[in-house]
């Protein structure tokens, strides 16, 4: 750890009078095993380095980054960043984080078993997973991927305003994508992932069962007919959809006129049953963090309370743009400037669960997959349109599965039309703690 901080401080030492400098250094050691047909298809063992230098002179910002700690590469970074700054236009929002007195909540994110586990045992996890998938059901025709991966990452960020932070984390995951035969000779697919701080917490059987169950529930699926069913999201899809909402609550979008929620603080923007915060201080979340990308303490940031918009996620720059304080929500890589975003969404518990929701719906859709989120969501207008697979709900019970459908609506409208927020909170491998949701006002489209 200390060698990264040392390296960062050494570069910071080159700062001259009248300029602010920030140095961010990172290192990651990764292992990835891909298994196919009972054999290791590929085993990757690698260490990567990254370093980013930002300079601000008279409100002008410049950056330079490199993927190497070699002296000949590093030596020129500060000079290059300084030179880049000269070509930017001054902006009084530009600037680095300064210590703000907020206490850092310690989060232990390191599991020694990532480094301590023999690579053969990691390989065994992926091989076992593939075998487990095949053993779940005879309709399993193949396994597209059975993958074990882990990463040990460390980083340090220092700046001339007194920020000096470092973080370290391990994460390990097991994932699979399964192919099952459909009755019409076609193929249906399902996938699942489990993630934790280390390999010992991963559950091979759970991942295999989930992936196969998800594929099997789509057997016999055909295109739906167009309509407006109630849409039921189990927690993993609720996390996806609420993640889109949180994306629209980025302070940067608000400052730059790219959020449909700008000027809406204090307004009722969602159904009253919805309360949502970003809480990276929850040590149970895989996305928990002590400090953000600029070195400020992470903290709980309320976003929506009882349906009323409470505030936005800020990093230093977006906060300066609105005349408020950073919420410690800077996300960044060494390659670029930070930008505000969520890490660990927390939704307050409501009432009911998946089972009770389904039982109470006459015409509904239980979502099984969402496709095209990167191309089908406009984070500025909030319009979205995605591909969907799922199981129709009729008169309170699960009915026929559907595929090749579309689901479309507008996020602002959808938030107001949330019909149910469950009490079945579930921690997602992505770090969010969310329950099942029932949404109204969405259009299901299809050629059926």
């Amino acid at each position: 750890m200390s060698d990264l901080t040392d390296l960062a401080r050494r570069i910071l030492g080159g700062a001259t009078e009248g300029e602010d400098v920030e140095v961010c250094v990172g290192r990651a050691v990764e292992t990835e095993v891909r298994v196919h047909g009972g054999e290791v298809e590929s085993l990757t063992v690698a260490e990567s380095h990254g370093i980013g230098v930002r300079v601000v002179v008279d409100g002008r910002e410049g950056l330079a980054h490199a993927g190497s700690f070699d002296a000949d590469v590093i030596d020129g970074l500060l000079v290059e960043a300084r030179d880049n700054a000269a070509f930017s236009e001054p902006d009084d929002r530009v600037g680095f984080a300064a210590p703000d007195g907020v206490t850092v909540t310690p989060v232990d994110r390191w599991d020694d078993s990532v480094a301590g586990t023999d690579v053969d045992d990691k390989i065994a996890l992926a091989i076992d997973l593939e075998a487990a998938v095949r053993a779940v059901d005879e309709r399993v025709r193949g396994v597209r991927a059975s993958i074990y991966g882990d990463t040990r990452s460390e980083s340090a960020v220092v700046n001339t305003l007194g920020i000096d932070a470092n973080t370290s984390a391990t994460v390990a995951s097991l994932s699979t994508s399964v192919l099952v035969d459909d009755i019409d000779g076609g193929t249906r697919t399902g996938g699942a992932v489990d993630a934790g701080r280390g390999p010992t917490s991963l559950d091979v059987g759970l991942v295999a069962d989930l992936a196969v169950t998800r594929a099997l529930q789509l057997i016999g699926a055909g295109p739906p007919s167009t309509g407006r069913p109630a849409v039921v999201l189990e927690p993993r899809f609720a996390a996806t959809v609420l993640g889109l909402v949180a994306g629209m609550l980025s302070g940067e979008r608000v400052v730059k006129g790219r959020s449909a929620f700008a000027d809406r603080v204090g307004d009722e923007v969602a159904a009253t049953g919805l309360s949502m915060a970003d809480d990276p201080t929850d040590v149970e979340s895989l996305s928990a963090a002590a400090t953000d990308g600029e070195g400020l303490a992470c903290r709980r940031v309320p976003l929506i309370e009882d349906g009323v918009l409470h505030g936005f996620l800020h990093d230093t720059r977006s906060a300066r743009g609105l005349g408020v304080s950073s919420t410690g929500s800077a996300l960044r890589s060494v390659r670029g400037t930070p930008s505000p975003g969520h890490r660990a969404l927390h939704v307050a518990s409501g009432h009911g669960d998946l089972e009770s929701f389904i039982a109470g719906i006459d015409d509904g859709l239980l979502v099984a997959s969402l496709q095209g989120l990167h191309s089908g969501v406009n984070a500025v207008s909030g319009d979205f349109s995605v591909g969907v697979e799922g199981v129709r709900i009729r008169d309170g019970v699960l009915a026929e599965p559907i595929r090749e459908g579309t689901l479309a609506g507008a996020i602002p409208r959808m938030l107001l039309d949330i019909a149910e927020v469950g009490s079945d909170l579930e921690m997602q491998s992505g770090g969010s703690l969310v329950p099942s949701l029932v949404l109204g006002g969405l259009t299901l489209g299809g050629g059926g």
């Binding site: 196919h36 054999e39 298809e41 590929s42 085993l43 990757t44 063992v45 690698a46 990567s48 380095h49 910002e61 950056l63 330079a64 980054h65 993927g67 190497s68 070699d70 960043a81 030179d83 880049n84 700054a85 070509f87 930017s88 236009e89 001054p90 902006d91 690579v119 193949g142 597209r144 192919l179 076609g186 193929t187 697919t189 295109p223 407006r228 730059k256 006129g257 790219r258 390659r335 670029g336 496709q371 095209g372 990167h374 191309s375 089908g376 500025v380 319009d383 349109s385 995605v386 591909g387 595929r403 090749e404 459908g405 579309t406 479309a408 507008a410 259009t443 489209g445 299809g446 050629g447």
Partner: protein
């Protein structure tokens, strides 16, 4: 980029545990970019990534390690790690002697990005900003981005191959937000070529900015898109994404080998209407997916995948081709030295048909005309794919009428290929794209003439 003797020693080290094949991939990439947002030029960034990826193959197992340390000891320890990961049965010493393969360089950057003053690059951004804002007062936000990269690669392997390439790419994009009674709408336009700064001899950034602004303004009055199945006409240059998703990925030999493609075992069969001839071509000079050699050292090639509706071949990388005892098709690509190569598309396009594009529209009673597509995604095992439409209009009584709001379209690859009933004679390349697969992004191009699909499902909100 590296001394030949050092390469030979590194490959020998990599083969020490009995590997059948070893490869060293060296990359030195410099990039620069600048953003203009909210009226100000900001975020001028310079980047440098340099390192080597070493893989060792034993049977069906690949061991892979990468390092940013290009010294003899750095390369040796990466070679050791890759060899240990592959773990062959036998050991012993195997000498390797690489010899350079001269592939005629087809890349040509007339004006290298490093020879252009930063002020000149930045000026393009300001021109675009001013042009977009002058288009209409409803334009409330503009962002523009300039980016260039120079990627030098060297590939050497235990078959004795040694090949190098020098790839220069230049990109410019503009995004606008228009504000009206109906809320916020956006427009986007980009241009990118595998050439140097001479891109701007042909690309007029001010005109691009005005087009982008007009696109956002048009959408302010757009109606909600319809939902359900209907005929869809895709404009010239736009349909490439459709084929990239509907069948391109499914023709990648690695997915075919895992039976994770609906096109597995179908070579020689009619998979599309006879109008369709689909080509993947890495040799198209200057296009976004162009290169001289792929990331395994094979020369780029012109590969016909579907000829007059009949599936003729898949796309291949070194490993998959080796298993089948055939040559690679020059489709082995990787995002960087930190990634293993796999089968990837380059520039994927549909050859011209005979129809007059105006006739295609006028013979469509009602449906949707998609002028510009966004990104897409496919499940190769089922063939189900989606792609976004970012500029689209209703077709009513054979005429393009009102603009509709953006949304996704969904279809099934094998079904859609058999529903193409009209193909125009107005071929054009589309926008520069980044294709993602298993977490790796590579630059790709695509192109089509105007075409019609008799039925695709539009994901709108209007029932």
């Amino acid at each position: 980029m590296l001394d030949h003797e050092l390469i030979n020693r590194t490959l020998s080290t990599a083969l020490r545990t009995g590997g059948e094949f070893a490869e060293v991939f060296v990359e030195d990439k410099r990039s620069s970019s600048a953003m203009l947002d909210d009226g100000r030029v900001e975020e001028l960034t310079s980047g440098r990534d340099r390192g080597a990826g070493i893989r060792v193959v034993v049977g069906d197992t690949t061991g892979f390690a990468h390092t940013a340390d290009l010294s003899e000891s750095g390369l040796a320890s990466a070679a050791d790690a890759a060899a240990a990961a592959a773990r062959g049965g036998g050991g012993g010493v195997r000498e390797v002697a690489v010899s350079p393969v001269e592939t005629p360089r087809t890349n040509s950057a007339r004006i290298a990005p490093e020879d252009v003053a930063k002020a000149t690059k930045v000026e393009l951004l300001s021109l675009a900003d001013a042009a977009a804002r002058s288009e209409d007062t409803a334009i409330t936000q503009v962002s523009a981005r300039y980016g260039d990269s120079r990627r030098r690669i060297l590939v050497a392997n235990s078959d004795g191959l040694l090949a190098e390439d020098d790839q220069v790419r230049t990109l410019f994009s503009v995004s606008c937000v228009a504000t009206g009674d109906t809320g916020l709408q956006t427009g986007r336009e980009s241009t990118g070529r595998t050439i140097g700064f001479e891109l701007f001899d042909e690309a007029d950034v001010e005109e691009m900015a005005r087009t982008t602004a007009a696109r956002a303004i048009t959408k302010l009055s757009a109606r909600p898109a319809p939902s359900g199945a209907m005929p869809v006409v895709v404009g010239p240059g736009g349909g490439g994404v459709l084929f990239h998703e509907a069948c391109g990925h499914g023709l990648e030999a690695d997915l075919v080998a895992k039976a994770a493609s609906v096109f597995a075992g179908r070579v020689g069969e009619e998979v599309a209407t006879p109008l369709v001839t689909l080509v993947d071509d890495g040799t198209m000079a200057g296009e976004w997916g162009h290169f001289t050699i792929d990331d395994e050292g094979r020369p780029a090639a012109h590969n016909v995948l579907i000829k007059d509706g009949v599936l003729t071949d898949y796309m291949w990388d070194h490993l998959r081709a080796r298993n089948e005892g055939r040559p690679s098709s020059g489709n082995g690509r990787r995002q960087s030295y930190q990634h293993l190569p796999m089968v990837r598309m380059t520039n994927t396009y549909i050859e011209n048909g005979d129809d007059d594009p105006a006739d295609i529209i006028s013979s469509t009673d009602s449906g949707v005309y998609v002028a510009q597509l966004g990104g897409g995604q496919v499940n190769t095992a089922t063939g189900d794919f989606v792609f976004g439409m970012t500029e689209a209009y209703l077709i009513e009584n054979g005429q393009i009428t009102e603009p509709i709001r953006e949304g996704n379209l969904i279809g099934n690859g094998p079904e859609v290929l058999n529903r193409i009933d009209a193909l125009g004679n107005d071929f054009a390349m589309g926008h520069p794209g980044t294709c993602g697969k298993d977490g790796q992004g590579v630059p790709v191009g695509d192109g089509t003439p105007t075409l019609r699909v008799t039925s695709l499902t539009i994901g709108g909100t209007a029932a």
